[in-house]
């Protein structure tokens, strides 16, 4: 008995769906609510499908579409899906519908269903789709092929799993290859696309067909259809990633094909081809295989760095002076904080399946799927173009083949840089900047002439030239700065001229030049020695002051960052402080708690507070209060949203930046910050340790550490929870979130020096030992070793019996560490631990440890004493073997002398 709908219900539902599309807001809201209610009806999905696919009554395309959308959204988390025969058997009929929109949406629905059910619960769909793609009529073929491509994109891993002794891909791959010979353009394109997704799996099912695939690929390379050729380029790129060896025999041909496509094909194909060349330069293919092709590749790159006609027209049409125009919302991209998620106007997707989501949309063309979604890289994808690709490729190639690249391009650039046409000049300047890093050695010969020339270009009447020149000069800042401090260097004064010129450009009448100049200045500051920058503190502060008055929202972000860089580099004197603080405080007061501009401001103020220390005290209280208020508010909302998901939580950046600000205050005020810190803050901090966002926890552990250093007593009541959270963090470490575990471990170390953690440390033993024996980032490992050592100062017995488990790693990371307070305390503790169990060290770790001692040039008094004690103890223990032993130690003579052994 197959399911039949109640026709009244169908009518009702259609009516509701119609309502959701209404232009009348009120109607829409009501309809949406009704739809929400309808969800709880039985067979809701069946009705939707019916409307989408089977309804022989009149249904507008829109209604079908919204039915489809609702259906797709309701499939997630439906655990009864597998038993819904009606749905499983009928959904494919949607691909037979005439309207493209309905077919598209059906495809999405099928894909979503498949990702949930997999082959095991829906074995019929794949063969059905393939058959339809092979034999259906034109539109149905296309629909099926598109759907298959989507499935391959989203669920390829499912296809690679065995089902009843076979892998679906074993059957599908050859079919796809066949389908690339279809007479339908779309089918060819989509089938190739499917294969590209499958290729990424590196599965055996594909690899066995690799050679026939390659053959077919070469045929498709000259296909008349643009979409096909676009996918061909993608294929080459994917092969490069998965099986470069297969490409090597054909490398010349493929490169030539790509270059040809860049120069002569449609824009989308050209871009894919350019991406191939970029992928080539970053791939494993040895440089010596690429080098022979440079003389073909480089000119193409250089040509394509030039702005295209469209851009030129737009740029030339811009006002010469837009410094007074406010920034539009679309221009402000995600800002300061490290969060990568996008909040711009263009983004209207909410999780869901990242790529499928972009497929729906009422603005689809009739015959075209939305293939624009690419790699889910949020909205920056729309900015990626051939110019950027070419620039990036030039950059990368120069790093691997600097001399060869420069030999070829320098003559070209020297000519182009003085061209009459500004786009050509601009591209040449960009190219010079692009090769700055990789070609540092070779390019420096050009610099004595190039730099002054570029400084002059800062006066060019074309804004784009001024903009790119600022950037390129910034790229050469390492050279310029190092020349400046060289004794008797010929180019000492380059710094002065350049720096001043760029500083002036910060106040250019064009906003994009301002932006470029300001970030270039930040680069210079970052690359320069403090002594080099210090003399410029006044001009810098004065310029920044003026910038603060002039800059619009987007450039303010860069400005805050430049300011922060400056403050971290040099000392601000009272005069500078007197200029700066009022500006920042003024901004602070204008902005609301919910304003995103707060983020870079708070970060900047964090540096200011840390750097000014007591001088910041007058503002400390109000700043602190507000930071705590923001923090508290955010945390509160986060809690509420668990219970009531309709509450919108503010971005994590608010939490991060407010914590950073408090941290800056603590660093600046040191022990005086104790007056600001209260239990409430500590509680809030504890909450943030549980935040799922890595960046939040990174900042909160940083604050924890600084609290431990400056106001340890404030932590006393919560030690158990704190240590517990740190333990969690160490367990949950990964290569992505190592900064968090790094900070947590560091904070633990600082705590152990000043607080009595003995009751809580038991559980951490194994964790810390595992940590430093693991393969995580080196800094995190070093901090782990330091912390284990430091714990030994007050609680050596904790680790004493475990020495054999970590001594090797510990010594490895501590041996070459620079000598500072961290090394000192860690060694003191470690010696303590060893003294508690001297046989913990064995015949390999004992020499290692003693080598560490030997290499320790200037231990403090206490440390030296304990070294001596330890060494003498071993000397006695080893007795006759001491001589043998000590002989193997580096510089043993010195050691013996130093500690009078």
């Amino acid at each position: 008995m197959s399911w039949e709908p109640n026709y009244d219900a169908v009518g009702q539902l259609k009516h509701i769906l119609q309502g959701t599309l209404s232009s009348n807001g009120q109607e829409r809201i009501q309809a949406t609510e009704a739809l929400e209610q309808a969800k709880y009806q039985q067979d809701f999905k069946n009705y939707l499908l019916y409307i989408l696919v089977l309804d022989s009554g009149e249904s507008s395309a829109q209604i079908r579409a919204s039915a489809g959308l609702a259906l797709k959204n309701s499939i997630n988390k439906d655990f009864q899906l597998a038993s819904n025969e009606f749905l499983l058997n009928n959904v494919i009929k949607g691909l037979l519908i005439d309207e493209a929109l309905a077919r598209n949406i059906t495809g999405n629905v099928i894909t979503t269903m498949f990702s949930q059910l997999g082959v095991s619960k829906w074995p019929s769909i794949l063969p059905q789709l393939i058959e339809l793609a092979e034999k259906g009529d034109g539109k149905a073929q296309e629909g099926a092929a598109s759907t298959l491509a989507k499935i391959c994109e989203d669920s390829s891993h499912i296809l690679d799993n065995e089902f009843q002794g076979e892998r679906p891909l074993d059957f599908m791959v050859p079919k796809f290859i066949e389908l690339t010979g279809s007479s339908s353009n779309k089918v060819r394109a989509k089938s190739l696309n499917s294969l590209n997704h499958i290729m990424l799996l590196k599965t055996q099912s594909f690899l066995v067909h690799l050679d026939s695939f390659l053959q077919r690929l070469f045929q498709l390379a000259v296909d008349q259809d643009e979409e096909v050729r676009k996918n061909v380029c993608m294929s080459f790129t994917t092969i490069l990633e998965t099986r470069p060896d297969k490409l090597v025999p054909h490398l010349s041909d493929v490169i030539n094909y790509a270059l040809h496509s860049i120069q002569h094909s449609e824009p989308e194909v050209a871009l894919e081809a350019a991406d191939f060349i970029l992928a080539l330069s970053t791939s494993d293919i040895p440089e010596n295989l690429i080098q022979p092709h440079l003389h073909n590749i480089l000119p193409v790159l250089l040509q394509n760095i030039v702005y295209d006609e469209m851009d030129i027209v737009l740029l030339e049409a811009e006002d010469e002076d837009d410094a007074n125009q406010e920034d539009k919302d679309e221009d402000i991209r995600p800002t300061a904080a490290k969060i990568k998620s996008s909040h711009t106007a263009k983004s209207n997707t909410n999780n869901g399946q990242n790529n499928v989501v972009n497929h729906e949309g009422v603005d689809n063309d009739d015959d075209e799927d939305d293939d624009e979604e690419e790699d889910g890289d949020d909205d920056f994808v729309s900015e990626w173009n051939i110019r950027r690709c070419a620039g990036a490729t030039l950059d990368v190639l120069t790093t691997s083949l600097p001399k060869e690249v420069l030999d070829i391009i320098l003559p070209i650039l020297r000519e182009n840089i003085v061209s009459e046409q500004w786009p050509v000049r601009e591209a040449a300047i960009l190219a010079f900047g692009a090769v700055a890093e990789g070609g540092y050695e070779y390019a420096s010969r050009q610099l004595p002439a190039l730099i002054p020339f570029l400084v002059e270009r800062l006066q060019d009447k074309e804004a784009s030239i001024r903009q790119i020149t600022c950037w390129t000069l910034g790229r050469y800042s390492p050279w310029i700065c190092s020349e400046a401090i060289e004794e008797g260097g010929q180019f000492n004064n380059y710094f002065n001229h350049t720096f001043k010129a760029i500083l002036q450009s910060c106040l250019d009448k064009k906003k994009n030049v301002q932006q470029s100049a300001c970030s270039s200045i930040a680069h210079f500051i970052e690359n320069a020695d403090p002594e080099l920058i210090q003399p410029y503190d006044k001009p810098l502060i004065q310029t920044f002051e003026r910038c603060f008055k002039v800059y619009k929202r987007l450039n303010l972000i860069v400005l805050y960052d430049a300011l922060q860089t400056l403050i971290n580099k040099i000392e601000l004197d009272d005069e500078g402080t007197a200029i700066l603080l009022p500006i920042l405080i003024a901004k602070w007061e204008i902005l609301q708690d919910e304003d995103k501009e707060l983020w870079p401001l708070l970060e900047c103020m964090s540096s200011v507070a840390a750097s000014l220390g007591e001088k910041f005290a007058p503002y400390a209280i109000q700043v602190h209060q507000r930071a705590v208020r923001i923090l508290s508010n955010c945390i509160e909302l986060e809690k509420q949203t668990i219970v009531n998901p309709t509450i919108i939580t503010p971005e994590k950046d608010f939490i991060i930046t407010s914590i950073d600000l408090i941290d800056g205050l603590v660093q600046g005020l040191e022990e005086h910050s104790g007056e600001l810190i209260d239990e409430n803050l500590i509680s809030l901090l504890l909450e943030t340790f549980e935040d799922t966002n890595d960046d939040v926890r990174q900042s909160s552990y940083a604050l924890l550490g600084d609290l431990a250093i400056n106001t340890p007593n404030k932590l006393n009541n919560k030690l158990s929870s704190i240590v517990s959270s740190i333990g969690q963090e160490i367990i949950a470490r990964s290569n992505d979130n190592f900064p968090v575990v790094n900070n947590a471990t560091w904070a633990l170390g600082e705590m152990s020096l000043r607080l009595d953690l003995s009751q809580y440390l038991e559980k951490l033993i194994g964790l810390l030992i595992d940590l430093i024996n693991s393969q995580i980032n080196e800094t995190a490992l070093e901090n782990g070793a330091i912390t284990i050592g430091r714990i030994g100062i007050n609680s050596p017995e904790i680790f004493a019996n475990h020495i054999p488990e970590f001594a090797l790693s510990w010594c490895t990371y501590m041996m070459y560490m620079e000598e500072n307070e961290e090394k000192e305390t860690s060694f003191q503790g470690m010696c303590n631990i060893i003294l508690n169990n001297p046989v913990g060290l064995n015949e390999s770790t004992l020499p290692m440890f003693v080598n560490c001692i030997s290499m320790y040039q200037s231990p403090g008094q206490k440390l030296a004493e304990i070294f001596q004690k330890l060494l003498l103890g071993y000397k006695q223990m080893l007795g006759d073997n001491w001589g043998l032993f000590i002989g193997k130690i580096e510089n043993s003579a010195e050691l013996i002398h130093k500690y009078q052994l």
């Binding site: 990174q698 488990e805 103890g873």
Partner: protein, 429 residues
């Protein structure tokens, strides 16, 4: 054409890889099926290059199959048992390190075939089929091994490092390995069970703390064949239940007599009553050492000393040969120097030790006197009593520039993500 050389370059990474992936994944039957399919699809292609590659591949595929089986651990053991039976094979066995990643089994064999008949060869690979840079091979007899060791070798542009693999004659010692870094919770039966995977165990000894009964973190295992040892010791570390443990061959140190001599000496010392004397007194110059280990009873010290000695001896016995190729010579040199020092000592110029110190690494200047009992002055095991000067550092402040790496929340990498201008960044940097 240079391209086909380049082909070969990658062939070894990927070409052989294909075969290997196949074989490790499936049983040998399925492997054969896949081989067929592969061959069929290969036959379908018509280009010259592919044909050529196919020929090369087919050749190496046969060899690879063999080699692959030996890399597969199940098959390893059966191969091993075959080889165990034939003693003479081991005389010609070599270990070769420093191989280029791309060196294939056939190149490897080809190269060494110049010196003699190669009856067995393997390149060790990881689970992705990538070479780990070393391998084994066996000549049919001993002679070629000597030849190989006479000169330097370069293969695929790398200076490779062949060594004689442990000959069978020393079987009773070479079946032994030292294991370190073992977790404290590990029990002896687990220890033994873990290592029995590699071969039949004659003896497995996990050193236990006699007070707590827990593992002291190290132990020894004696296998009944050198192959098992080879298997265990392919790397320096092994994964034991998620923990890295250190494994090392345990080999004798130079002449056995040297050790026996030292051993006897020390036993003599232990028996002497003079052990009670804590006095380091005249032998030790003002180092403040005499105050170090006070407050400890003589009996405790004696016991500790005994245990420490035993440990140290054992450790010396088991020490791997690879780090000290000329141990015997070094030991001899040491002993000589020590004797010199003793003489100086006895003639009373204790302070002048430094002047006799030369720059060689083998020097040791200790106030060694083997006639006077050596009082260890060491506390017995156990935390607190060893060091009375309980270092409860009231350490505060003096914070000098942190590493922390804590980076105050900012991981500032470039200006792209901070709204700065960049002409070709990919956006979210």
């Amino acid at each position: 054409m240079s391209l086909s050389d380049d082909e070969a370059l990658f062939d070894d990474i990927y070409g052989d890889n294909e075969a290997k992936i196949e074989e490790t994944k499936t049983s040998s039957e399925a492997t054969n099926d896949k081989e067929e399919v592969k061959e069929q699809t290969q036959e379908a292609s018509t280009t010259e290059e592919v044909k050529k590659e196919e020929e090369e591949n087919q050749k190496s595929r046969v060899e690879i199959q063999e080699d692959q089986k030996s890399a597969d651990s199940a098959a390893f053991e059966s191969a091993e048992s075959k080889r165990k039976a034939d003693l003479s094979r081991d005389a010609g066995k070599m270990f070769v390190g420093g191989l280029d990643w791309d060196t294939s089994e056939e190149k490897f064999k080809e190269y060494f075939s110049k010196f003699g008949e190669v009856i067995d060869h393997t390149i060790m690979r990881d689970s992705n089929g990538r070479s780990r840079g070393f391998g084994f091979l066996s000549f049919s007899e001993k002679g070629p091994v000597d030849e190989v060791l006479k000169s330097q070798h370069i293969l695929d542009g790398k200076v490779i490092d062949p060594k004689r693999a442990i000959p069978r004659e020393e079987q009773d010692k070479t079946g032994k390995i030292f294991v370190g870094g073992i977790a404290p919770e590990v029990r002896p039966h687990e220890f033994e069970a873990f290592f029995s995977k590699f071969g039949s165990i004659i003896d497995a000894q996990l050193m236990l703390d006699k007070d707590t009964g827990r593992s002291r973190g190290f132990g020894f295992v004696t296998f009944d064949s050198p192959e098992a040892v080879d298997k265990v010791c392919v790397g320096k570390y092994l994964d034991f239940n998620g923990r890295q443990i250190e494994v090392k061959r345990a080999e004798p140190r130079g002449p056995q007599q040297q050790q026996n001599h030292i051993q006897q000496q020390q036993q003599r010392i232990m028996q002497q009553q003079g052990m009670m004397a804590m006095g380091m007194g005249t032998q030790v110059p003002n180092s403040g050492a005499s105050g170090v280990y006070q407050g400890v009873t003589p009996e405790a010290m004696a016991e500790y000393w005994q245990q420490m000695q035993q440990y140290w001896l054992q450790v010396q016995q088991q020490q791997g040969a690879s780090s000290d190729p000329n141990m015997a010579a070094q030991l001899a040199a040491y002993t000589q120097q020590l004797q010199q020092f003793q003489q100086i000592q006895q003639s009373g110029s204790g302070a002048g030790l430094e002047s006799t110190v030369s720059g060689t690494p083998t020097e040791g200047s200790s106030n060694y006197d083997n006639t006077t009992p050596k009082a260890p002055a060491n506390a017995p095991r156990g935390p607190k009593s060893f060091n009375n000067d309980n270092y409860r550092g009231n350490y505060r402040g003096g914070y000098r520039g942190g590493r922390g790496g804590r980076g105050r929340g900012n991981y500032r990498g470039g200006y792209n993500s901070r709204g700065g201008y960049h002409p070709y960044s990919r956006g979210s940097n």
